[in-house]
């Protein structure tokens, strides 16, 4: 099983969600996050005092999928979230050892 953590532009969330639904993915966790990579922040002025805001609001999706589906999901996210400009975000993949459904203690891919 693979865990996908995708950090995307907040404005792209709906498109990414639709693209994932289209390939049959039903569950996901969405978080509002702040951070920065190579995209520079912006400056804000409050009564002439300058503040540099380098932690930019982004949206993070977390999904755990079977390996077969994970590959399709990565492509769906990439295509939906891409604008071609700096700041489109990143996708992190990692192995997941086990999954447990709390309701009935079911384990493994069946619990996804």
């Amino acid at each position: 099983m693979t865990k996908i953590e995708a950090i995307i532009r907040t404005s792209k969330l709906d498109e990414v969600k639709d693209a994932l639904h289209e390939i049959g993915i039903e569950g996901m966790t969405v978080l509002e996050v702040r951070g920065h990579g190579r995209q520079k922040g912006h400056t804000e002025f409050y009564r002439g005092q300058e503040y540099t805001v380098d932690l930019i609001p982004k949206t993070k999706l977390e999904l755990v999928l079977s390996d077969a589906l994970a590959d399709k999901a990565v492509h769906a996210i990439m295509n939906a979230a891409r604008t071609g400009k700096i700041g489109d975000g990143k996708i992190f993949l990692s192995r997941v050892d086990d999954v447990i459904r709390i309701r009935n203690e079911e384990r493994g891919e069946g619990a996804l």
Partner: protein
Amino acid sequence: MAKTWVMGVTICLALCLTVASHHLAAQAVSGTGSAASQPADSQNDRIARLEQQVADAKGSADNAWMLSSAALVLMMTGPGLALFYGGLVRKKNVLATMMQSFAMMALVTVVWAVVGYSLSFGSGNSFIGGLHNVFLRGVGASPDADYAATIPAQTFMIYQLMFAIITPALITGAFAERMKFSAMAVFMVLWSLLVYSPMAHMVWGKGGLLNASLGGRYPTLDFAGGTVVHVTSGVSALVCALYLGKRIGYPKAPMPPHSVVLSFIGACLLWVGWFGFNAGSALSAGSLATSAFVATHFGAAAAVIGWCAAEWLRNGKPSALGAISGAVAGLVAITPAAGFVGPMAALAIGLAAGVVCYLMVAKVKSRFGYDDTLDAFGVHGAGGTIGALLTGVFASSAVNPIFKDAKGAVLPSGVIEGNGHQLLNQLVGVAIAWVLAIVVTLIILKVVDVVIGLRVSEDHEIQGLDLSQHGEEGYYWEVSA
């Protein structure tokens, strides 16, 4: 078509006239009847009675406006200033900041009832009122003709109280996010008695040194409190900011306002409340109130444009916080002038205040590095000073014939009208307000610092004043749905 219409109107008019004349005739008959039953009721008595009724009607009208104005001015402190300041601080200090303004509504009220009013408006010497009116003795339904001849003295008292409340509340902006609540409360009670009352007495009290209409030696024009309210609070604010020192992390750590939205609502309430502050200062509901109302609005509008333009040129964008700060700066500056200047002068004063106050908070503050947290000095100290001085320039005897010679002929008011000396009087008034504010504030701070301690501990400051001073949070984070 047109002919029918005209005919219709004529018939209507004729009908009205018939009904009206019939009604009048009936009244005349009943009038004679009552006169016959009371033969002693001479024409002179009736005229006297009528005059009394006219005076009562005027009194009622004035009282209605003054009570409304008093309520408007209270609204400036809560929620106006509480929201304006509350939005500008960090999330962890929002309640403590609002509480500082709100506490004035309770503390100053009690102080005012016991002795504050008497020290401000009771008969006394040139500098401070006496103790004749302690516990509001003699302040009842009958007017005090020296101050306002048509409204109950109690109305005048409660109206003036609202000014005494907001003035110390303005200072809280300078030491926001780092002062102990206990120390703040004691400081403000002392400040209200030792700075506000003397200044109010000097400018507005009977026989006050600076009183322009009740025989002051240096008649200073201050319609609604440019020196009494804004210079005293603004300058004391600077002293507080310097004495308490900077917040931990200032100016390196970013400390942007946690909600400009709250501040926005607060500023709009301040603008509306200011009509009670300035137009109410006419102490009657006549044309002078209208003139002050208009000047107030125009001053605020021009200052928004002044501040935004300066900001736009310097930073490339006009900000919402800039626009509302500009409005407050303009309202501050027009306060002493409101009942003395015409609409065009109000625009000029507002524009000047908008630009100057912007430079004060954006350039001067960072240049000298003091942490006047919410710019109480930059806006109220600077705006009040400019306003007080420009009042001496623009004051017009056509708007308000305040100065008269022995025969009652109207004398010129401001510099533009040819009374060059007035600018000097304004300078004296401003200088006294500055010196009084600096010296007495310093002494009070020193005393409170020794007895209680002014600043919260470092831990408490980092934790935030909401939790450390009040044991609660403005925005409680609820985990369960």
